[in-house]
């Protein structure tokens, strides 16, 4: 019992995926441009919407990797 508690509360390297997903969107110079456009949507917009989907996948990965 005490062991599983410690395991659940502790640090997991999987959390680094959270850092990755934050890094994707916290540096605006990287995506503040219009080209390449996607179906007429400027890069700035479709990139960030794509980042949402990537973040959702990464969060789910962390969830499954850290739950028992």
């Amino acid at each position: 019992m005490a062991d599983t508690q410690r395991k659940r509360g502790g640090w997991s390297w999987w959390y680094l995926l959270f850092v990755l997903q934050c890094a994707l969107v916290l540096w605006p110079p990287f995506y503040n441009r219009a080209e390449p456009a996607f179906y007429g949507i400027p890069f700035f917009y479709w990139y960030q919407l794509l980042a949402v989907l990537i973040a959702a996948v990464l969060t789910a990965a962390v969830y499954f990797a850290t739950e028992d």
């Binding site: 508690q5 659940r8 509360g9 959390y15 959270f18 997903q21 934050c22 994707l24 969107v25 916290l26 540096w27 605006p28 110079p29 503040n32 441009r33 219009a34 456009a37 179906y39 007429g40 949507i41 400027p42 700035f44 917009y45 960030q48 919407l49 980042a51 949402v52 989907l53 973040a55 959702a56 969060t59 789910a60 962390v62 969830y63 739950e67």
Partner: protein, 516 residues
């Protein structure tokens, strides 16, 4: 404004009637003794993953979001898209911090953040500061939800002229809201949130599919957006310009979100810490929608609704907040306008109900019980909360009826700056008891005063141009003042600990409380 849109109004009223019935019927849902505060104010902590999903979603994506984010895109352009990084940042926070907070609150019977801080740091004045901040930050937020209802009611051609008759629809909506919250507690918004989400999803997807088709594709829409609105302005050599503002707005808003009492109420009503973690994994589904909603602001630009004579009166009365309703009126058939407006109207009632319950919980537990009547019976406590929820909503209504909307928006901006100052005690407190309680209080006070001053100096706009040497770093005031707050707490903790001859107040929580 033009005449009444009867088809839209009928659909709107029918849907409103349905959720009114649902709100009252919810009292019997997963039945509990509503004379106990945790039953009335937290739904008995019995909501599973799905209901929690709707409830937290109801907190996050309010009517005001639905109106204001596209309005910002309509008026200011690319900067409105900071809402997307913001929603990406909130889920790691939810994932890492809040299952632990849920566990300790469940084990110790806490129902507010202030309860937790009182137990963790043993300082009633710190707990009072947390409770007051929550109350003051929530009130203008409730008022803004009523603005959302006001805009769609106005857009259907009801009211328009000033005076009591014009305000009547809003007053009716308010009475409905107040009555079902009083009688059903948190169960009412939880059940209505499901209807609300279905409607909002239908509306958002309809808008994103139908409007680009009508306007001739995304390429055409974006080419109608003026160049200076399409992207963030590239900063000059001695400033971080729009980039820094964009990133700090996202970070600050994300950190503030779950500190709001209504967010916490949604979180604490979950049936387990596990349900919250699962939600952090599945809630990003909502974020995508928020991005789509922001695009609707550009649709409104492309559709040229700002220049159409039939919408001139609406824009005059509600400003850019009228962009979304105008677009819907312009492109949707009347019956679907009714659906979309009902989505916005109901999208206002859900968070407004949760907010008023959260405020009621705070007052009842952390002010009344702590400072006025120390030993209420369960029934007295629950009754007090029900009354407070009414008073809080009445305050919001009076505010909206008699004070210019702009004040509510500005107060809500200040609310974000205030609520983030509770982060060290609440979010970091979940992980560590290292901080000195008085250091936390000083950090909170200085952060609050500095943030308010900076916002006032900037004429109540969200960003402050921090000047260091020859460089300027424009950024979200809430973010800067949180850093100031944290630095103070870290520096003052050892100082106060060394000065204090009095022993540190006891931490009534134990390490095991934070785990399932």
């Amino acid at each position: 404004m033009q005449g009444v849109n009867w088809v839209a109004l009928t659909v709107f009223v029918v849907l409103f009637g349905f959720i009114t019935w649902l709100g009252f019927a919810a009292a019997n849902w997963r039945k509990g003794d509503l004379d106990q505060l945790h039953e009335w104010g937290l739904g008995g902590r019995r909501f599973g993953t799905m209901v929690t999903w709707f409830l937290i979603g109801g907190d996050l994506y309010t009517a005001y979001t639905f109106i204001a984010v596209p309005a910002l895109a309509f008026g200011a352009g690319a900067v409105a898209f900071f809402a997307v990084p913001y929603t990406i940042l909130i889920y790691p926070v939810l994932f890492l911090v809040f299952p632990r907070l849920w566990n300790v609150c469940n084990k110790r019977g806490y129902i507010t953040a202030s309860d937790f801080v009182r137990g963790r740091f043993g300082n009633r004045w710190l707990a009072l500061a947390i409770a007051m901040t929550g109350l003051v930050a929530t009130m203008p937020y409730i008022a803004l939800q009523l603005v959302g209802i006001q805009v769609v009611i106005g857009a259907m051609g009801v009211g328009g002229t000033s005076g009591f008759v014009a305000d009547l629809p809003l007053i009716i909506a308010f009475v409905i809201l107040a009555a079902f919250t009083y009688s059903s507690g948190l169960r009412a918004p939880a059940s209505i949130a499901i209807v609300k989400d279905v409607l909002i999803y239908i509306t958002a997807f309809a808008a994103v599919i139908v409007v680009p088709l009508q306007l001739g594709g995304f390429a055409k829409i974006f080419s109608a957006v003026p160049a200076q609105k399409l992207l963030l302005a590239v900063p000059g050599p001695t400033t971080t310009g729009a980039y820094g503002a964009y990133a700090t707005l996202a970070i600050g808003s994300a950190l503030a979100l779950f500190l709001y009492p209504h967010s916490l109420t949604g979180i604490l009503s979950a049936s387990s810490g596990h349900a919250i973690k699962r939600n952090a994994a599945i809630l990003p589904g909502y974020s995508f929608m928020l991005g789509l909603l922001a695009l609707i602001g550009f649709f409104a630009i492309a559709a040229g609704v700002g220049a159409l004579p039939q919408f001139a009166a609406g824009f005059k009365e509600f400003g850019n907040n009228f962009a979304v309703p105008a677009l819907f009126l312009h492109v949707f058939p009347s019956w679907f306008v009714g659906v979309a407006f009902a989505a916005i109207g109901i999208g206002a009632l859900v968070p407004a109900a949760i907010m008023s319950i959260a405020a009621a919980n705070l007052y009842t537990r952390n002010i009344h019980r702590e400072f006025i009547n120390k030993n209420p019976t369960d029934k007295e406590e629950a009754q007090m909360a029900k009354w407070v929820s009414l008073i809080v909503k009445l305050g919001a209504l009076i505010f909206i009826l008699f004070v210019p909307t702009q004040y509510a928006i500005q107060l809500q901006l200040l609310g974000g700056i205030w609520i983030i100052q509770t982060l060290p005690a609440v979010m970091l407190g979940v992980y560590t008891r290292w901080f000195n309680d008085w250091a936390l209080l000083v950090g909170w006070a200085v952060g609050t005063v500095a943030g308010t001053t900076m916002a006032v100096v900037m004429n109540l706009t969200p960003t402050y141009p921090l000047a260091v040497g020859g460089f300027t770093f424009p950024g979200y005031t809430a973010f800067y003042t949180l850093v100031l707050n944290l630095v103070l707490v870290v520096v003052l903790t050892p100082v106060f600990n060394a000065m204090g001859s009095r022993r540190t107040p006891a931490d009534e929580t134990v390490a095991a409380d934070y785990f399932a």
